[in-house]
């Protein structure tokens, strides 16, 4: 099998590492601005896509298939993002006579539709968020509505069937408020969408994002893994993941795993995939959606189970049978945490910061795994996601994993662009994070409460040290000390800040 990796950055390198360990040759594709990206050098062969915008490069199905033809690649790994959940791409790959390293196109299609996926989950007996199931009848009396509300359970979201963007939506905590809220939502929805239909859905408060990784072969075996906790999100984007969850007990773990496996079996799933759930504070969980691909956060599962998910993706694609001990997959050895390091300025509203990576020395030593997609000399392009590396810490328990992550974050020497490292250092010291007390709204809430201060306090001797270093940078013969480059002036306008001492990193 010769594998074309239809992706870029750290995940392309991760997949190539898996291929190389199996002796499989690899083909990279690259956009113009990625010519110097590490994934191009890691591959045995590389084909230029001659474009930058995703639509003309990593999303361009015809170019990708042409690259496979040119190099004789007979399998395509989509990674995550880009075309990874595009059923049309999966089908085009198969139609071109190549193997698609992922589930069948039909399954991607099915699980990609919210309502179809929800129906499939319901059909497999997997809990979904309780609701009225369909629009409330127009002529319902207040008593009918209160009855429907009681059946769903409070708090309740009244949602417009045609809704979106929060319009025609009401949160109701008390049964007596329900009829009036429905009335308001109906009229808002009617004026916004020309459709006054509304339905009821239970509001899961303080919900945690819990997900179950699974592997499935082509012979009917499905293996679910110990859950991942992904509630630390910024604007619905995961930034820290860990496994196991600090709040999931063994019974809930088994119930989650069984649900995930049932759903995967129901839909004929193969290869690697993840089922996402919302967990409430009474240990009830509800199906959210399925990701029909490898996920960003797969390394934490690999670290606590010792199972190589990418290798299994490749093996399953070759028709091999899963021979993983299902008990091992559910029994985490220790605890693993991943921080997604983005080229963003945490002190300027997490603005993405494309630019040249001047220094890149990732941490090393016990329990640390780094999957990076950059090297010094590479310029983070403006065209894609700004993630530069994933930093994973593994230790005997959660507390030790946090301590280890703190140590590794402090070691991480990345220069040229600001990154989210200072925010992670702050978060690893946050008492609620340490206590495991958080839900999906936690990070946005605590960030909003910070009012823009620096994430890290300068060390006691910071000012003294800065005075000395500044003087020495001249006295020891600073190159370029006689002329500050214009490039510096240009760049600086973007990030103007009054604060002169700041945890920019």
């Amino acid at each position: 099998m010769k594998v074309l990796i239809a992706n870029r950055g750290e995940i392309a390198v991760r997949i190539m590492r898996g291929c190389r360990e199996m002796g499989l040759p690899t083909v990279a594709i690259y956009s113009d601005c990625d010519r110097l990206a590490p994934h191009v050098r890691y591959a045995d062969e590389a084909v230029a896509l001659v474009a930058n915008e995703p639509a003309g490069s990593y999303l361009h199905i015809e170019k990708i298939l042409a690259a496979a033809r040119r190099t004789g690649a007979n399998a395509v790994h989509p990674g995550y993002g880009f075309l990874a959940e595009n059923a049309g791409f999966a089908q085009a790959v198969v139609d071109a006579g190549l193997r698609f390293i992922g589930p069948p196109a039909g399954v991607i299609e099915l699980m990609g539709g919210k309502t179809a996926a929800r129906a499939a989950a319901g059909g497999a007996g997997v809990p979904i968020v309780p609701g009225s199931g369909g629009p409330l009848p127009d002529g319902a009396t207040d008593a009918d509505l209160r009855e429907a509300g009681d059946a769903v359970g409070y708090p309740i979201f009244v949602k417009a069937v045609a809704g979106g963007g929060g319009k025609g939506m009401r949160l109701v905590r008390e049964p007596e408020e329900l009829p009036r809220a429905i009335q308001g939502a109906r009229s808002e929805a009617a004026s916004a969408f020309g459709d006054g239909d509304v339905y009821l859905e239970r509001c899961i408060e303080r919900g945690r994002h819990i997900e179950v990784q699974l592997l499935a072969d082509e012979h009917g075996t499905v293996v679910p893994f110990v859950e991942r906790e992904c509630s630390i999100q910024r604007r619905h984007q995961k930034v820290i993941e860990e496994t196991p969850s600090p709040v999931v007990g063994i019974e809930t773990r088994r119930a989650l795993a069984a649900s995930a496996a049932r759903l995967a079996e129901e839909v004929g799933y193969t290869n690697a995939g993840t089922i996402e759930f919302l967990l409430d504070d009474a240990d009830n969980f509800y199906f959210l959606e399925m990701n029909t691909r490898l996920q960003v956060e797969h390394p934490i599962t690999e670290m606590v189970t010792g199972i190589d998910l990418v290798r299994w993706q490749l093996r399953v694609t070759q028709g091999e049978r899963l021979d993983i001990d299902p008990e091992r997959a559910l029994a985490p050895d220790g605890h693993a945490i991943e921080c997604r390091v983005y080229a963003e300025d945490p002190n300027a509203g997490f603005m993405p910061c494309p630019g040249l990576i001047r220094t890149h020395r990732p941490p090393e030593g016990p329990g640390i795994r780094v999957d990076s997609g950059v090297e010094a000399g590479f310029e983070v392009p403006v065209h894609y996601d700004s993630m530069v590396a994933k930093l994973v810490a593994h230790a005997a328990d959660r507390r030790l994993a946090i301590d280890r992550m703190q140590r590794a974050l402090a070691e991480y020497d990345i220069g040229g662009v600001p990154t989210t490292v200072p925010m992670f250092r702050w978060l690893m010291g946050h008492e609620d994070f340490i206590a495991g007390r958080f839900d999906t709204t936690f990070l946005d809430r605590v960030l909003a409460g910070r009012n823009g201060g620096a994430f890290l306090d300068p060390p006691d001797d910071a000012e003294e040290l800065a005075v000395m270093a500044a003087a020495l940078s001249v006295a020891l013969g600073r190159p370029g000390s006689e002329g500050v480059s214009a490039g510096g002036a240009e760049a600086s306008g973007r990030w103007k800040q009054a604060a002169r001492v700041a945890g920019l990193r």
């Binding site: 823009g452 500044a470 940078s473 001249v474 500050v484 480059s485 600086s492 002169r500 945890g503 990193r505």
Partner: protein
């Protein structure tokens, strides 16, 4: 050698003397403070250097400082672990970028990278606070709130929702 170092708005007149026998050993003095330090350049690149400083006086502290000659504000950046301190050395600072500028006169908010305007939150004539979000631009798979560089009145918002913008394009002006 004398070097003028301005940090946090305070100017220090710093003297650096090298030991004649052991040139890596330096005595650094300013404002009545004196430190004896073994100072080494671990590596240099075109942007600056990595310094290793070991106090050889009463303390024995070992510190690693990355010096970037022209940092993001056109100043010298001193990276002390995760914390960055900015310094003006010998009065050198890019005039267009002096921190005072943001506080007075007209301020222009420009697009830091190519992207798409997804929300415009203010209109000409609006009174805004410093750091108040003005425009949301989607770029690099993220929605980015671009905030007011200073408090004032919005004089111009030459973009609309859905518009694609190039890097450097004016998004809003404040007076």
């Amino acid at each position: 050698m004398r070097v003028e170092v301005e940090i946090n708005g305070k100017v220090r007149d710093v003297t650096v003397e090298r030991d004649r026998v052991r040139p890596a050993r330096v005595r650094i003095s300013w404002d009545g403070t004196t430190r004896d330090v073994d100072a080494r350049i671990v590596e240099r690149d075109r942007d600056g250097m990595l310094l290793s400083l070991v106090d050889v006086g009463t303390a024995a502290s070992s510190r690693r400082v990355r010096c970037v000659a022209a940092g993001r504000n056109g100043l010298t950046e001193l990276h002390l672990g995760d914390v960055v301190v900015e310094a003006v050395i010998n009065g050198r600072r890019l005039a267009a970028d002096s921190p005072g500028e943001a506080a007075a006169g007209a301020s222009r908010l420009t697009a830091p990278m190519p992207g798409k305007v997804v929300r415009v939150l203010v209109a000409p004539g609006d009174q805004v606070e410093a750091r108040q979000p003005l425009v949301v631009v989607e770029a690099m798979k993220m929605e980015n709130e671009l905030t007011a560089p200073k408090a004032g009145v919005v004089t111009e918002v030459p973009v609309t929702e859905g518009m694609s913008v190039e890097s450097g394009r004016l998004l809003a002006a404040i007076e």
